[in-house]
Structures are given as structure tokens and as C-alpha cells.
Symmetry: D2
Subunit: 348 residues, 4 copies
């Protein structure tokens, strides 16, 4: 059994880790910290876990995370970088669901997250936890920067085309839509039911933290300079993310048939348990991934055929966060990658 | 492996059966019928099942249900009664999720369902599939009438008090609220998004089919004449059911303390895997049961203490329908009752 | 023109007052206070009012409310009682949308609201602002305690039966359901979209502030001792309130026909512009009142006929709060009661 | 008073016309037809109109529409073209909310709507009913093709840039999102609450009828060849439309400052009562237009400044349909354009 610690288990990615790990056959939940909820049973705060998780939250001071095999950070940005060095020194693996170890470019990190990076030494060994693009490194990693929810969809959607050099790398447009749980479990007016229900809006159009993260990763697989216009929107639904990606085919690629385009994606993801390439022209719904680790992709090529429209859906809390983190953990501990992640999406 | 057939698998209870059975370790999905969708892959109609269910729908004429070990009917009322005799004669067990075998009182059935009962002979051996009240009979049954969603909450909520003879059996009030999926997957104006979202209403206040079903069952455990006022309401949510039950304590029971009341329920359900008696005074949310087979109960005794208010929540498609049916199947085939039903509720 | 001040205009009842008064032909918005938003244009906080309301919020210290003809308090409980004496002394009328002047029983107020009442002297002249039951007093009032949202539905639903002495006054049950906007515009986890959407729950079952308010008012019209069991619930919708009321007919009233029952209500509300008695057996939807000042009632008498079920719907922010307050204002200033309140409900 | 007929008043644009016209000071509702609901009071089908609209639906055969001053067609495509000639011959003006008279290009119409156009003669005099771009023609028109909901947002969003020749006219991208009411009031599985709530999807990505309509209109104001990639999506909300428009600045326009860009739009719409240009960088929410005829626009220019992102929101049933139709009617009858259209948006 893998002894598991969770730092900051009161948010949505924390409770989603608990949901997944509660039935993971090799997971032994050992400690879950929350300064504010010290001593409170997890199942009191989350009645959905009554009878399934017996732990109490404990103050970070009291929890002995050093005895864990792996610690997940489901915390605000900045927490993991402060605690990771000691844990790693004690032989504990670390998976950070926040942004501390996602970006190699410190300047970009500090600009977008408004804080100094206190743990630059570890960045070079930190591995970006997107298994479909980075599997071998994850297997050997001690320290994972788990991808952001939006970047997961953008990378898996653009990657096959970028790798093949078929599209203008500097004209990528991603029009993305997220459920409200992506904003976290915070006491803020802006995400109240009465403020978000029965309405729709864009936000952060001038710039969003997930842009530099995505560009950094896409640049690794593109021979040409990547540029990305990313527009996030808020959808009145709890879970779910839908990215509508627009890629301009190069003149030299205009002869590509739709069948060849489709095959490119099917080949890219043929062996992936958690990426489903749907038939050409499909319209995936976010609910077809609800509460599961699957991500679905469908291709379109409307109008004059110059623009490839890639539709990508996932559950932002699973493949977009906690499920992906467990997928990484499975790889890091030599387990089958799908262990504990076989949830069938909830429909309706 | 248990060879399983599903008749009428295109509705919500059908697809929920598929979701549950897809990861049930002893289930082998063998046939699923739909006259209209003959030849269509199940996963084409329900993309949430892509990669998880390989079957195609087949016309009832072609499907050889007689080779199954058990057949579930996820059909409109009246279908199971037509096909059950042949299946039973061939040694196939039958679990009907509709109303054909729920009520022993044929006159009541025919009045409320507006059809003649064509299979009265089998009624006497049909077992009402509520394991918490009927477990031993279910184990031996060949033919199950799976309870309605509302009746499950009303019975498990009132039963301990009625059995103990503490309340006026003829003054029961059940003010119940259901998510829209309870109305099924039908092309009807009244359950469109634009008709039901951001609104709330009662329906069927003058009389609802679940009243006679519930009274018949409650009468079996009550020494006194049962009468029930049942008011169903429609909530703008997909899944979930919340029943607010009002029971008047007899004068002779007014001395009962809240602790004794609480203990009565805890004792009644102590060994039940799928009934959770929450601390006295709790306010269970339907989402704490979402997509799982758990039903939660909480007790209140406001104001002058004469009325016990029992709050009961469940997922109407799981404990209120398909999960309960699989729970019955497990009992009928000698499996652990919880096999394949350990889903942790989805939150948020 | 009536010069109008609003204290605390940043909450939902405040912005709803603004929406209504923006097109009221006799209203002149003069001052709107918010300590926190001093100097901020109202339309910046509420873009829905761009081009419709030109005021800025001003700090309470700066706003000269004494020059107003009437001041509405859309504030937390306790604010109006502190400021009302000075305003009244300056000839300004006061309408409090909070609870400070709703209850004559100071002990009950202090018990349920957890604060000392600092303005007991004015209670005797304060008028409970429910026009349908209190019109003549409202016309002459200087100081109005505007009713709570739930109490409005419970009073208008039970009143005809209680006045006629037909029901057991001490066995009233009100099972009520409210949209989330009823909880106000507060930064609280419990009313986040991700916490309340796609779910349903009861709250405050052990006791709620609206119980003593309602009992005090109902007692005024009942010859017998009133007792009330009130169970509030939270519905995943923004606006709307649905009260399901259960009243037990006295033995002496069992001979009443349904037609007589219906006539009792139709007679009671025949001349009321904002109370709609629907045909016997109707199922009113909350959306049929959305964004309007109408309240609809429908009667049922199921099962053995002993219990009258009264369904009452309204928009909690209009007839349940700000619309009712404007209705009172119209009466206090000698205007037609419906002035500025002729909004047709929004459907769908 | 203007005598008004409505053909097909049972759908969402029909009932929205009724809501608006019920308080329009110059409107006299004279006839409303529905073959299926002949004789049924409008307020029985739509309780929101109880006490506000006294008409009954009448069969098209019985209704004497020729005595009306204007007839609105809130019908499926193809109905207006069959009845318009007779009405016009009798001096009745016609406003079609469907597509029959939107497009001058008959071949495109027949391709996208799958029917022959039976009334080609009238096309040349039909006026496209978008007042902000077409006001003078509307004033003189007898026959209006009222714009589609999506096209309204796309045209008003792209128009100032296209007119000024600042952007690549053949690389327009419109990523648009609509509430479910846009799909109409039809008994279809795909728009059930349980199918659309808590989910998000694109649809019609390969091609949508609103593309040729929009291109035809934009071409009229563009000196260069227009091409448009339009991707519609379905949002789990009742009303509201949000279009995210992407326009590529020409190299020659890259020197444009954001202030100049903003001024371009402010100048374009300065005198428009129903177009609100918000401050540069705003994020308009659909709810800020709910149930009103306002359309709001906000500009962004993220990243390298090459792409202008134009955010446009409206209520799809008002400015996107019935409100716009009444705006046209006002112009056609010499009324102030805003008559009867001063509804303040509903918030929350």
C-alpha cells in the first residue's frame, strides 16, 4: 500500500483526490492537513465521504508527512514550494496540483503568480505531469507539477498537429469554457449561485496564467515559435471543461484529407487509456466525461477547410486535476496507469 | 459471471444499469434490447459508455434473453408482465424496474396504471425489492418488483416509527422533491430545460401512483391502518430526491427523548450498508448521495415536539432505481450485497 | 416626484428596489448608501443598470437622507432601528426590508435575532407591511416593517381558512422552498454555485426566524391559538419561492365542498391586484411569477379530504421583498397601489 | 392603437412578443393563432400572462388577420412566405421572425433551409430588420425579415471594424454561445433538462444556417470579400447569448491604439438606445441583458495585439428576436424606437 498525505484537503481538488483514493486498491490515506479544520473528521465537512474516509483533518504542524510515500498538495500556489524540499529529502515523493512546479521559466512564474519562487533549485528536476506527452519522465520523477485544467485540453488538442508541423504555430486560438468548480471553494461573491447561474461570461481575456504554462509546453514539441490566444469563459455548470481550438493549416498542409487528419489523432492516442478520439465531426458533451478521468477529442474542418477546429472535453476536477495527479502517482509507483481510475462517467 | 439482459436500455434507468454493471465484477452484459435502436452501438447513443460497453442494441425479436441468468426490465409499465412468464419458465430471473410487480392489490394497480394486469398468477410469488425491509424473501426470489423512487424514501423513513407503533399511522404526510431525471427520457415539452430550469412546482397533488404502492408496503409493517398524504415536487436538478416526512407522535409517545428517537433509527439500520443515519438535527443534501447507492436519513423534532420530521435523501436513479435493482440481483445470486455498488458520491 | 433614499443598496433587495424604481413614474432616486462602495457608480457594480441609474453609492455619513420623502432600508437586521428615529423626526417615512419593525413581541425579536432592540418606542406605531391584510394601516403609516419572504406566502395562504375558523389553528404545517437569492449577496461558501447547484436540502428545521413573525401575524386574525411547523428548503434556482401548506379541516368543516373552498379564496382576494387565485387543482410554477409582484395560490384537497393543501408561489425578491415594499410606498403616498409594479413575469 | 396579429404564438418568441406587447402603450393585441390550441386562452397555456392577456388562441382559418395593422410570424420557417402576399395585398405589414425574408440569395436559402422559396417576388422589397444598420429602410418597409439571434451579435460586433476596413474580412471567427431557449419550445430529447443541464457542447460546427445570413449582411458593409467561421455552442441557461468574436487587424492597422479602437465603437453606437459599448477590457455577462432589449459590447486586444477580441452579449429572445421585432414595428409605425422596450434587465 502507498501511504498518502494530502496537504490542504478542504478544497475541490482535495475532496476529489479523496473520492478517487477512497476506492484505489493500493492507496492508504495516512494524513490530510488543514490548519483551520484541525481535528474535524473529513466526513463531517464532506458528508459524501461518510463511511468511506475515516481520517480527521490535522494541523500541518502535527501531521507527520515525512512517513508518507507521496504527498499531494491541493493548496494555493506557493505552499508546495515551501514544503517540498524537506519532504523530498526524506524520500517522500511530491505531486503539486498548484502551479509551483509547472513552469521552468521562473520569470514568467513570478510575473503571473505575483510571488517569488522560493525553490528554484528543484525546478530542473520537476516533471510536468501530463502522462500522454511526458510518460517516461513521470515514471522516474520524485517531484511533479500537475498541469492546469485548461492547459491539459489545449496541449492534448494541439499536440498532434504541432508535432507534425501542419499548422501555423503562432496563430493558435483557444476559446475555452469551464464549470464553476474550476474557481475553487472560496468565499467569493463572484462565484455565488445567484451570480453565476443562468448566465455566461468571459474572464481574464487580457491574459491568464494558463497561457504561459501552455506555451512553454507546446514550445517543447513545436519546431516553430508558438503563440497562443486563450480566452477562458465561465459556464453555469459545476464540473466540465470544453475547449474549442482553432488551428490554421499551413498552405503546404491544405491537401490533407479529413481522413488523414483523423488518422493523425487516432494514431497519436491509440494506446492512451484516457484519451478518446471520437469520430470525425462529433460534438462531445462535457457530461460524457463527468466524474471520470477521460478526455475526449473531436475534429472538424468547416467552411473553406483552412481552419481545423478541435473540440476537447474533460472533467476539470478529474483529468483536469485530481485524476491526472493519481494517474501520475500510478506511474511513479510502477502501477498500471489506470489503477483506481476506472470510473464510468455519470450520465445523465 | 452472471449473464445479464436488459430490456429497454435507452432510458435513464437503463443507462444507469449499464454504468453500474460495466464495473460489476460478476456481471456479463449479454443483451440489451431496443426496438427503435436495433443495431446501434450502445456507446453511440451514450458516449459516456465509449470503451466501457461494447454491446449493440438489438431488436427484442432477435435478442435471446432466455440464455441470460437475469433480465432487468427498464421499460414502461406493462412490458415486463408480458414477457416475464416465458423468461421464468426458462429459468431466467426477472427484475422489473417498472410497476408491474410492485403491488399485490390488482385493483389498485389497474386503477392507477390504467391497464389490465395480464400476469396476475405471478403476483403472489413476486417479491418487493426493498432489501432493508425484505432481504430474506429477495434472496429466494425469481421475480422482483423493484420499488419506486419516492416509495423507497418514504418506507425507509417511516418504517422504524411505524414498526414501533409510536406515531399516528393514518396521518402521515410526505412532502417529496425529485430531480427531473425521475420523469424519464421522453420527448415532452414539460421537462425541457427551458421549462424546468430556474423554477419549482408541485405536481400530481391530487393523487400519485406511488401513494398506493407505499401504503400497501407500510401497511405490512404497521399494526394500525395507514394513510398517507404524498405531495411530489419537481426540482431543477438532474438527479436527487429529498423527502420531508411529517409524523405525529401519539400522546403515549410524547415522553420519548430525542436520544431514544435517534437510537431507534440507528438500531434499525445499524447493519445496513446503504442506509446512513446522520447525527440528530442534520440537514442532508441530495448531492451527498449523487451517483451512489446510499440513502441518508436525519431526524428533527421542532417546535412543540409533537411532530417528528424525517429528512431522507437519495439518488433517484441509484438507490431509487438501478442501484437498488443491482442490490437485489446481488442478493438473488448469493453475492455480497454491496458488490459493484461501492461508488463514492460525487461532490461537488 | 417622491424623493427616495436607499440605505444598503448593494444587496439583492437593494438592486431589486433600483430595478423597480428606475421605471416608477413617481420615483426620484436621490441617495443610495454603501460605506464600502462610496463614490462608485451603481451601474459599475450592477452593469444591468447601465444607462438606467446614474447615482453613485455614497457613504452613510455624506448622504443627506433627511431630505428624502422616504428611505428604504435594504440592510442587515439592526441598522434601521438605529437610524429610523432621526429620519422620522425629520418627517421622512421609513420602510425597513429587514426584521427590525416586523414583530411587536420584543422578547421574540431579541431571542431570534440575537440583538437588543434599541428602538422599542417606535414599535407600537410600526405597521406590518402586508397590504392584502393591512392596507388601511399602511396608508397612514410613517414606519413600515416589510414582511419576510416566507411569511408573505404563509399568511396569504392560510389567512382565508383561519379567518373563517375552518381549520385547526394549532396544527399548521408549511413546507417551503426558496431560491438561493433569498440567502442574500454574501461571500459564503454555503451559497456558492458549486455547493448549491444540482442539489436540494432543508435548513433551519429546528427553528427559523420567520416562524414567530408568521405566528404573531396569523394570531391577529385567528380566534384560536396558532401553532406552526415551518420547514424551509433551498432550491437550485435564483429567484422563486414555493410554499406547500397543509391545513387540517375541523370535523365541523368536513362538509365543505371544494367549490365552497375555492370560493372562499376567490372572495378573499377578488379585488387584489397582486394575488391570483388559480383554478382549483392547479400546480403553479414559481417561474410564472418571475420578476413580477404577483403571488399565485392554488388549492387541493387530496386523499380523504381532511387536509387542504395550499400551494403558494411568488418571486422572493419582488412580492417577497422589494416589490412589496414599493407597494407599501405607493399606499403611503396616496398613489395607485400598482404604480410602477406592472411587470409581466418572465417566461421562459 | 396598432392592431396586432401573431401567427404561431405558442413558441418562445411568440410568448415573448406577448410579454412585451402586453405593456406596450400603442399595441392592441387582436389575434393570435395556433391550429393546435384553437379556443384555448393564452393565459391557460402561459400562466405568467394571467390577467395580462385576455385573448384565446384561434385557428388560422378563423382569425381575420387582414384587419390587423401588422402581423408577426413567430412560426417555423416557410409559414410567413405562404401568407405574406395576401396580408401585404390587404395593407397589413408583416414582420417574420423566421428566416423566410432574411436572405436575398435564394439559392443559399434553399440550400440551408431545405425548402423551395415560394415567394421570391417579395424578396427584393423585404428589409433586413436590424435597426442599427438598416434604420431608414425599416421605417419605410412593409415586410421585415427579422434577424437571427446569432447574426445580430456577429453583425453589431464586427460592423465598425469592417466598415473602417481595419481587419481581414475573410478570417473572421465567431465562437458563440446560446442559452437553451434558442432551440425553441419543441418536444425533443436533446433539449431536455436532464440532457442539457450541467453540461456544455458545441453543435453544428460543420455548418449553420446563420453563417450565410451573416455573411450576406456583412458583405454589404465590407469592401472586401467576407468569410466567417462560426461555431455555436449550447449553454445550460435559459436565456442569453455570448459571442466571442476574433478579428485579425491588417498590418496597416497595427498602429491603432486601444483608445482609438474603443472610440471607433463608441462613435458607431453613440446614438443607439439598445447598444451599450462598455469600457475597454470589460467582461459583459449575459445576465446583464436578461429580459431586456439591450446588447452590450466590450473590446479586448490581448497578447501581441494582432487580434481584436469583441465580446457581445444579449438576451436571445429579446434583442435576438422579439424585442428587435418590436423595435422594427416602432420604426415602421413612426413611434419612438424605444416605446414599450424600456425593461430593466433582471439581476440577479
Amino acid at each position: 500500500m502507498i501511504k498518502i498525505g494530502i496537504v490542504g484537503g478542504t478544497g475541490y481538488t482535495g475532496v476529489e483526490l479523496l473520492r478517487i483514493l477512497a476506492t484505489h486498491p493500493h492507496a492508504q490515506l495516512t494524513a490530510i492537513t488543514s490548519r483551520k479544520e484541525d481535528g474535524v473528521p473529513v466526513s463531517q465537512m464532506y458528508p459524501s465521504l461518510r463511511g468511506r474516509v475515516d481520517l480527521c483533518f490535522s494541523s500541518p504542524d502535527k501531521a507527520d508527512l515525512n512517513q508518507c510515500d507521496v504527498v499531494f498538495f491541493a493548496t494555493p500556489h506557493g505552499v508546495a514550494m515551501a514544503q517540498a524540499p524537506e519532504l523530498l529529502a526524506n524520500g517522500v515523493k511530491v505531486i503539486d496540483l498548484a502551479a509551483d512546479f509547472r513552469m521552468q521559466d521562473v520569470a514568467q512564474f513570478e510575473k503571473w503568480y505575483g510571488m517569488e519562487h522560493s525553490c528554484k533549485d528543484l525546478l530542473s528536476e520537476a516533471v510536468y505531469g501530463l502522462p500522454e506527452l511526458n510518460r517516461e519522465q513521470i515514471k522516474k520523477a520524485r517531484l511533479i507539477g500537475n498541469p492546469g485544467c485548461y492547459p491539459t485540453t489545449m496541449q492534448l488538442g494541439f499536440a498532434p498537429l504541432l508535432k507534425a508541423g501542419l499548422i501555423d504555430a503562432d496563430r493558435l486560438i483557444a476559446d475555452c469554457k469551464s464549470g464553476v468548480s474550476g474557481a475553487g471553494r472560496k468565499a467569493e461573491i463572484g462565484i455565488l449561485f445567484s451570480e453565476t447561474s443562468d448566465s455566461f461570461k468571459a474572464y481574464g481575456v487580457a491574459g491568464h496564467r494558463h497561457t504561459p504554462e501552455t506555451i512553454e509546453q507546446l514550445q517543447r514539441i513545436s519546431a516553430e515559435k508558438v503563440d497562443l490566444l486563450f480566452t477562458p469563459h465561465l459556464v453555469p455548470m459545476i464540473r466540465g471543461m470544453h475547449s474549442t481550438l482553432y488551428a490554421q493549416l499551413k498552405d503546404s498542409a491544405m491537401a490533407l484529407t479529413n481522413e488523414e487528419l483523423q488518422k493523425l489523432f487516432e494514431d497519436a492516442y491509440r494506446d492512451e487509456a484516457f484519451v478518446d478520439v471520437m469520430p470525425f465531426g462529433s460534438h462531445p458533451e462535457t457530461r460524457s466525461t463527468r466524474a471520470s478521468n477521460i478526455l475526449r477529442i473531436a475534429l472538424h474542418r468547416p467552411s473553406n477547410g483552412r481552419t481545423v477546429v478541435i473540440l476537447v472535453v474533460q472533467d476539470n476536477l478529474v483529468k483536469g486535476a485530481s485524476g491526472q495527479a493519481v494517474q501520475c502517482m500510478n506511474l511513479m509507483f510502477g502501477l498500471d496507469e489506470t489503477t483506481g481510475l476506472n470510473h464510468v462517467p455519470i450520465n445523465p
